[in-house]
Structures are given as C-alpha cells and as structure tokens.
C-alpha cells in the first residue's frame, strides 16, 4: 500500500534520514510561515504530480497563502489531495535517484541508483544502475552511503516493498536530504504494527472476496485470481469489456456468492459471468447462492461455467431452474457476447 509523502517522510525522519524543515496542512488556514522561500506539494498518490500542477513554489507570504488555498482544493489527475506538505526550499547542488525493492528474479534486496535524479529519471532509464544492494552500494558516492544504509534499515524494519527517494539531494551545506519519496508498505505485514508512518490502519473489513472495479459492462466472478484473469482475457478476446475483477477465493460458500452477485448487480450490470472450478470450493454451494440471488434478480443474465468438485450436482440443480451451465469457459464467453469463435483476435 502506497502511503502519502508526508507520512513517508515522517518514517524516513524516524530512521535518521534528513528531510527539509516542513509543515503539513490538511486544510487551508491563514497563518504566517516561518520559512521562505518554500515549496507546496499536493498530497496525492498519483504519479506526475509536478507536471500536473501539484507542486508550487512560493517566495512571499502572500504567494504561500494563495498557493495553499489553491492546492488544498485542487484535485490532481482526478485525485482529491489528503492535504498539502510545505517544505523549506533546499539549496540543491546535486540530485540523485535512489530506490530499493525486492527483486523477484534475484530474490534479494535490489538497489537502483542514478547520478541523474529528478523528475525525468524515467525518461533517462539508461542512467539507472541496479542490482543486489551489496554490489551496487560500492559504486555509490561516499557522501550518500550513510543515508542509503538508513534507507535499507527503514525498508527492512518497516516491511516496505518499495522505497524511492528522488531526488536525494546534496545541498549547499553539504547535507543529504530526501526531497521526495514513494513508499509502498506490505499490507501483509500490518499485523506486526511496527510501522512508524503515522498511517492509521483501516478497520478490518473483509467482504470475503477480492474486488477491483474496471470500466466495462460484463460482470466477472471466479474462484482464484488466475481463473478470474483468464476469464477477463477471454471476454476481451471476444470483443467484450470486463466490468470488474472479483475473486471469491477457494472454499467460498453460498453467502459469499450471494454477496458478490448482489454487489455487481447494484452496479447496474446486466450480464454476469461466473467461472467456478471447484477445488476446495463445492460447486453445489455456489449453485445454491446463484439460485437464491436469481430469485430476487430475475432481470440479471447469468452465464455459468462449473467444473471440478460437485460440478454435476450443481449443474443439475441449476438446470432444474432453467439456468444453463457451460463446461468450457470460452463457450460461455462466446454465448454471453453472442459471437462465434472466428471473433477471437489472434
């Protein structure tokens, strides 16, 4: 989970990394500022904040107040800001790029470093060197090393999966400052509650499934992330647009199925696909959920594919109520979109 810059900076500070003198405003207040010139930064999570007017520089008190008002109210790329972080402008001598992540291939902590930090680092990717931390750290300028070791310590002790400081700046006073950062925490580690980010953990709210809303009109429910993704792909392949990703997981019962279907129908979807491979899941329990939903929502068209554990019982049960089942996912999708096999884009 990506957290806002002002919380991330607090975490860096806790781990001994220098940040500029700063103040966070969650709303507009008319007050004096003790440090000028300053930079005002909209606290949003979307990228390219600077290029979209989310970062403004103030030289006077008047400018500061105007900009603070503007940024507390202005959405950036559609995202309402959490507030505004105001920082004293640092006299920058050099900007570096540093990030830490867990390498899938290397199965090790990876350090990425560039001598040329700043907003265009992604366009200058060829300047970025990356590899196992212990190797890359050797080629990093001496002046940055202490800060980067502190980053490593923060990364490991706070269960981060990504930490980027860009720019990591050397200032005129010879000090190293973290000027902007991206911090992604591993939600699976929240149980440790060791984070010093000031982040308030959301109350446990577990609907029993994993849901991501998309822009299309074909509802999709499945058991297992892989199956749901493959079903979405099939819909796209035959010219349709998935409305969602909804994974009810393994071992889902009747209630979960009803809850999932209810949620999608509340979004006004007229066609919903269910792709169920019963491993631990018992297809007949899923069928019971489908029947119970269907009684209340005659208007929603359901396309169902069942295989595995108790699939035959489930199919019989659904057939009895006039609901057709498919045993092949592609057949189900074609029927839903009313296209032939030739439609598949190869």
């Amino acid at each position: 989970m990506k957290i806002h810059e002002y919380l991330a900076k607090g975490t860096l500070f806790f781990h001994g990394i220098k940040i500029p003198t700063s103040k966070f405003y969650d709303s507009y207040v008319e007050e004096n500022i003790s440090f000028l010139p300053c930079v005002l930064k909209s606290q949003v999570l979307v990228g390219s904040r600077m290029k979209n007017g989310g970062v403004l520089f103030a030289k006077s008190r008047k400018e500061f107040l105007n900009f603070l008002k503007e940024l507390t109210e202005k959405p950036i790329r559609g995202e309402t800001p959490d507030g505004v972080l105001v920082e004293e402008l640092v006299d920058i001598r050099h900007e570096y790029y540093v990030s830490l992540l867990l390498g899938r291939k290397e199965r090790d902590l990876i350090l990425c470093f560039s001598e040329k930090g700043g907003i265009d680092v992604e366009e200058n990717a060829e300047n970025v060197v990356s590899g196992p931390f212990d190797e890359i750290i050797k080629s990093v300028p001496e002046i940055l090393r202490e800060t980067i070791f502190r980053m490593k310590n923060a990364f490991e002790s706070e269960d981060m999966i990504y930490l980027e400081i860009n720019p990591l700046a050397v200032a005129g006073d010879g000090q190293v400052y973290a000027l902007d950062c991206v911090m992604d925490l591993d939600e699976n580690a929240f149980f440790r509650k060791t984070v010093h980010t000031g982040y308030s953990f959301p109350a446990e709210e577990n609907p029993g499934f994993h849901f991501v809303e998309l822009t299309g009109d074909i509802g999709i429910i499945g058991c297992g992330a892989g199956i749901v993704m493959a079903t979405m792909d099939a819909v796209k392949m035959y010219g349709g647009e998935p409305a969602d990703f909804l994974d009810i997981g393994g071992g889902a019962g009747k209630e979960t199925v009803i809850k999932a279907l209810e949620m999608l129908s509340r979004k006004g979807l007229e066609k919903i696909l269910l792709n169920i491979f019963g491993g631990i899941t018992s297809c007949d329990e899923v069928a019971e959920g489908i029947l119970s939903f269907k009684k209340a929502h005659e208007e929603v068209r359901l396309y169902i594919r069942m295989a595995g554990n108790k699939a035959e019982e489930a199919t019989d049960m659904l057939n009895l109520f006039g609901i057709n089942c498919y045993d092949n996912v592609y057949e189900m999708v074609r029927s839903c979109l009313q296209v032939g096999d030739e439609y598949a884009l190869r």
């Binding site: 990506k2 999570l45 990228g47 990030s99 992540l101 867990l102 390498g103 899938r104 291939k105 199965r107 090790d108 902590l109 990876i110 990425c112 680092v121 992604e122 990717a125 970025v128 990356s130 490991e156 269960d159 999966i161 990504y162 980027e164 991206v182 992604d184 591993d186 699976n188 580690a189 149980f191 440790r192 991501v212 998309l214 499945g222 058991c223 297992g224 992330a225 892989g226 199956i227 993704m229 493959a230 979405m232 792909d233 099939a234 796209k236 392949m237 990703f245 393994g250 491979f277 019963g278 491993g279 631990i280 295989a307 595995g308 554990n309 092949n328 996912v329 592609y330 598949a344 190869r346």
Partner: protein, 281 residues
C-alpha cells in the same frame, strides 16, 4: 527443486487448523506418506491416527520427517518454516497466502543456506500423479501421463490439468510455484526438476508481471532442455494499475507485459496460446 520419490516422510505444520487437518487427511488418502503433524495446540495429540507434536525438532527426531507442508496462518509462517529448516527438513512447501514478502525472502535465504528446497508461499503445492501429492489440488483433475505443468496460479493449474487429463496425454507432474513476487522455487528451478525426471513436454502457465518465465526457459535451454514447451498467460486484460506504475517499473518497464513475454518465448521456440484448451492437442 529436488526430486520427489514418493517415499518422502511428510510432516504437516498447522495440522490442527481447518485446512491443515482437511488436507492432511486428503493427502494421506492419496497415498502421501504423512508421518506426523505439528501444532501449538497442546490439547490435540493425534488426528485420525496421525501423531501431533508441539515442535518440529521433536517431530523430526521421533518420526524422521524430511519434508514439511505448511498451513499455519501468515503471521506465523516465518517462525514455522525457520523451525522446520533448523530441524533438518529438506523439502518445504508453503501453502499459506498473505505471507509478508520480507518473511518469504528470509525463509528463502535460510533454505538456500541449508540446501533445502522451498516451494511457495501462496501456492497449491506439487503433485506427481500416482506417486505423491504435497498440496491442496483436486487430485481428480490430474490424471497420470507425460506432461509437466508449471504454474504461478493455483486454479489455472487445475484448469489446465483437467484439460490435459481429458484432451491430451495426461499429467506427469503439476508444480504450483505460487503467485507471490518472492517464491522459493522459480520457473528455472522447476525446469531442473522437469529435466531430472526426463519429462519432455511442459506447459507453462504464467501471469502478467515479472519476467521469471522468460529467465526460466532461457536457463533450461542453456542447460540442454530439448523438449517442447507450450505456454498460456493470464492477465492480458489487467489494466496497468498503481502497482505496475512504480514497483520496479524503471528496471522492468515493458518486460512485465504478456506481449513482451510471449514474443521472447516465441523466439526461444515456445508456442504460446490465447486459449488454454488448445494446449497440447
């Protein structure tokens, strides 16, 4: 990934939990040599004839267990796996999902140091039809045959296995690597298993993100794999979300996309399919 002979002495960690118990019995029914279970629950000493110990050390000393399958809740996986590896377990399969990535990394490093094989976390495990089932897969979908399935996704492995069992020449081994970014056995290591077992037909079931599939195939070809690989990827329709937006974007960039993976695999002679029911027919 080390060989599976079918005579492994298997301990089930977290055997008193709902899933641990259910799958311990299912695996035993399949023919897997379940020698014991371990649980922190002091009240349960036995489950349907399977002895339950309170520590891995004791379990290994008394039963000679050499393999472990882990069902304990995510916050306890690091502790459980560490205990197993410190006690001399040589093959460990971690079924549990939502394990913190840094915990997975620590377990991987310890397994590497102890020269043990690790599969998972967040995986369905491994099955060699007719020989051993070390996992939670529905065995009826895995009819014995000559094709190996290597998959990052659990349910998709079952789908493909069912298709291979029904419409092709059956399954020699089903290897569920797991869907997490940090996993104990990657495609390259699963391919080593394939080569040691002299399997020459492989289905690779991949997902969007990372480039493990490419690296794995590349390495196996370098090591002399001459068989046929066919691949199916899921996640083409997944929009580039916030996570794809930064994590490793600079070093991965285009490389995590399915288009890129398919193109690279094609160059290495791997056939790729848009529909999984066209694999090996």
């Amino acid at each position: 990934m080390s060989m599976l002979y079918g005579n492994e002495r298997v301990c089930v960690q977290g055997i008193t939990g709902r899933y641990g118990r259910y799958h311990a019995l299912k695996m035993r029914q399949y023919g897997t040599n379940i020698v014991c279970g371990v649980s922190r629950n002091k009240a349960i000493k036995e489950i349907e004839g399977i002895r339950v110990f309170q520590s891995m050390k004791e379990a290994v000393e008394i039963t000679g267990a050499d393999t472990s399958i882990v069902f304990v809740p995510a916050p306890k996986v690091l502790e459980a796996a560490t205990e197993a590896l410190e006690s001399g377990i040589k093959k460990i399969v971690i079924i549990t999902e939502h394990v913190p990535q840094q915990d997975s990394l620590k377990i991987f490093k310890l397994a590497h140091e102890k020269k043990a094989s690790m599969i998972g976390p967040n995986c369905p495990g491994v099955i060699v039809p007719g020989k051993i089932k070390l996992g939670i897969m529905p065995e009826s979908a895995f009819k014995g045959g000559d094709i190996a399935i290597i998959s990052r996704s659990g349910t998709l492995m079952y789908e493909v296995a069912l298709h291979i069992s029904k419409n092709s020449s059956g399954v020699k081994a089903g290897i569920g690597l797991g869907g997490d970014p940090i996993i104990g056995t990657n495609v390259a290591q699963a391919m080593e298993f394939v080569m040691e077992n002299e399997i020459d037909k492989v289905v690779l079931v991949g997902e969007v993100g990372g480039n493990d599939e490419i690296a794995g195939v590349e390495e196996s070809i370098k090591k002399g794999f001459k068989g046929e690989i066919q691949a199916f990827f899921a996640g083409r329709a997944v929009p580039k979300g916030k996570t794809m937006g930064h994590a490793g974007a600079i070093i991965e960039g285009f490389e995590g996309t399915i288009e890129y993976k398919e193109r690279k695999l094609l160059e290495m002679g791997v056939k790729t399919f848009r529909k999984f029911d066209e694999l090996f027919i």
